[in-house]
């Protein structure tokens, strides 16, 4: 082979990669709009991921006012422990779910409960009190101590059982099945029914 040709081939083999680098770079920046779109998409993905992933544990206050059997008029106070994105707030609405407790003194008894629930509600200015519940449900294990004119025999007795509670557009309905723990009680089981507002 001609020496000049050999030299040319060698030169091309060595130097071609250097010529091709700018060509490749040209291809990469050929569509700046597309690149910009990818960067914007990636950035949005990172931000949403960060918002959803950066969570903390929070307590939200719960309330309920209801008329129920056998407690009659009662007011419940409690709290729910939830895991929620740090950046999220419930001022105008959010969904939370988790373990919660509620203590509910009433005219003819007091009930305490622990359970699991889910709700969509808002705190308004209070920031931590779910004072409006748009939708929610809960299942709680409850213990109740009755007194006064409760229509039970004996009037003062302790009951334990399970309660289901459902809230929609602020209204709350609840049904419970409780078993008496008192040996002198005439019946074993009591069905509790309630209607009111809250969670």
């Amino acid at each position: 082979m001609n020496l000049h040709l050999k030299a040319l081939i060698t030169f091309l083999l060595i130097c071609l990669p250097f010529f091709s680098i700018p060509a490749l770079a040209d291809n990469e920046i050929a569509d700046p709009a597309s690149n910009q779109e990818t960067v914007t998409r990636e950035l949005a993905l990172q931000r949403v991921q960060q918002e959803l992933g950066n969570v903390e544990k929070r307590w939200y206050g719960l309330t309920r006012v209801r008329w129920s059997y056998p407690q009659k008029l009662s007011a419940g106070f409690g709290a729910m422990l939830v895991e929620q994105p740090k950046d999220a707030d419930c001022l105008t609405g959010c969904a939370i779910r988790g373990w919660h407790f509620e203590v509910e003194p009433g005219l003819y008894g007091i009930q305490g409960g622990i359970g699991w629930g889910s709700l969509v509600g808002e705190t308004g200015r209070t920031k931590r009190l779910m004072h409006i519940v748009h939708f929610g449900w809960a299942v709680r294990g409850v213990v109740m101590r009755t007194w006064g004119d409760a229509h039970l025999d004996p009037r003062s007795q302790t009951l334990a059982g399970i309660e289901g509670s459902f809230s929609i557009t602020r209204l709350n309905m609840s049904v419970g099945v409780l078993r008496t723990l008192s040996s002198e009680a005439t019946g074993d089981w009591v069905i509790s029914v309630g209607f009111g507002m809250g969670f």
Binding site: L45, L52, C90, F135
Partner: protein
């Protein structure tokens, strides 16, 4: 008996948790006229991308599920109870710009929006109203995204069940008519007195999305090294049209509600000829194409099966208002 009651109670609670999302939430894009909203398309796309990929990575992972089984899992994650998870995320996120945003704006919105003159206990007013967001310069109620994912799924299930019994055209018509009946029933007219052609547009696009997941030349869901993947190219821009904006694609209101809604709508008339609204409506006009849903709604109107939505259009209302004055 008590044991039976307990079981019934538990079942009821479980059913509530897994009940399909109902979207009777009302929205008002007139209220946002002239007010700036940053476009949130990328954030909304990102939310969908993360939600779906997270299901594929955790609940599906290495299991040998076929595509349809995977879609079921994906859909389940896009469904909550009465309120849709995306709607809820939007209302509490710092990233998605919207109207109303924050406590004060929310209060003002509730005091002025279209449903504000309805009775306090009216279901259309009792349910939390949806915020307006912007996708590809089109303003939509966040409830439309919920329609997209929830009623779109219902359409998809109908499509799967009936696809061998109908021709392609018949099947598309069947789905839209199914949607109209839903809007005339518990998801619209029966519950809130509102039938929304905008909801129908979102439903149908949602159906197309679910169909694209496993069907067509290039299904969206694909396997890579044995694991299911969702492409990062999902884009709401491919689905959202001006027909989703209720200030452009008017609702049909029940007579009793219309008496209360019309005066609220009249308050927006002075804005109709503002430069912002003129520009937006020009933009919509340029984008708009005749969709199958719009075509079938027109046919139903012509057959007298549906009141004409144009009766409730802002242009008609303002013109009537002027004539009365």
């Amino acid at each position: 008996m008590p044991m039976k009651m307990t079981i019934i109670l538990l079942l009821a609670c479980a059913m509530l948790n897994f009940s399909p999302t109902i979207h009777a939430l009302e929205t008002d894009q007139f209220y946002t006229w002239g007010k700036p909203i940053e476009d949130s398309t990328e954030y909304l796309n990102a939310w969908v991308q993360l939600r779906i990929q997270s299901v594929l990575d955790t609940r599906v992972a290495d299991s040998p599920m076929d595509c349809e089984a995977v879609v079921k899992k994906v859909q389940a994650s896009l469904q909550n109870s009465l309120y849709h998870p995306m709607d809820l995320w939007i209302s509490s996120s710092k990233l998605v710009d919207r109207i109303p945003r924050g406590l004060e704006e929310s209060r003002e919105y509730r005091a002025r929006y279209l449903m504000t003159k309805l009775y306090r206990l009216d279901t259309a007013r009792l349910l939390e109203p949806s915020a307006t967001v912007e996708v590809n310069n089109i303003r939509i109620g966040a409830d439309k995204l919920a329609h997209f994912f929830s009623q779109g799924w219902w359409y998809y299930k109908k499509w799967k069940k009936n696809r061998d019994d109908y021709t392609q055209d018949e099947l598309q018509r069947f789905l839209v008519e199914y949607g109209i009946n839903l809007e005339l029933g518990a998801l619209g007219a029966k519950l809130t007195g509102v039938t929304s052609p905008g909801d129908l547009e979102a439903n149908y696009q949602g159906f197309l999305f679910y169909r694209q997941l496993c069907h067509g030349d290039e299904p969206l869901l694909y396997r890579q090294e044995g694991r299911w993947q969702f492409p990062d190219t999902f884009d709401f821009r491919d689905y959202v049209s001006p027909g989703w904006d209720e200030s452009w694609n008017p609702n049909i209101y029940h007579k009793r509600r219309w008496k209360k809604i019309r005066p609220a709508m009249l308050t927006y008339c002075p804005l109709l000829h503002s430069p912002w609204v003129k520009q937006q409506r020009k933009f919509y006009r340029e984008l708009e194409t005749q969709t199958l849903t719009a075509q079938i709604v027109k046919e139903w109107v012509a057959d007298g099966k549906l009141p004409d939505p144009q009766t409730f259009a802002i242009t008609t209302v303002c013109q009537d208002g002027q004539n009365q004055n």
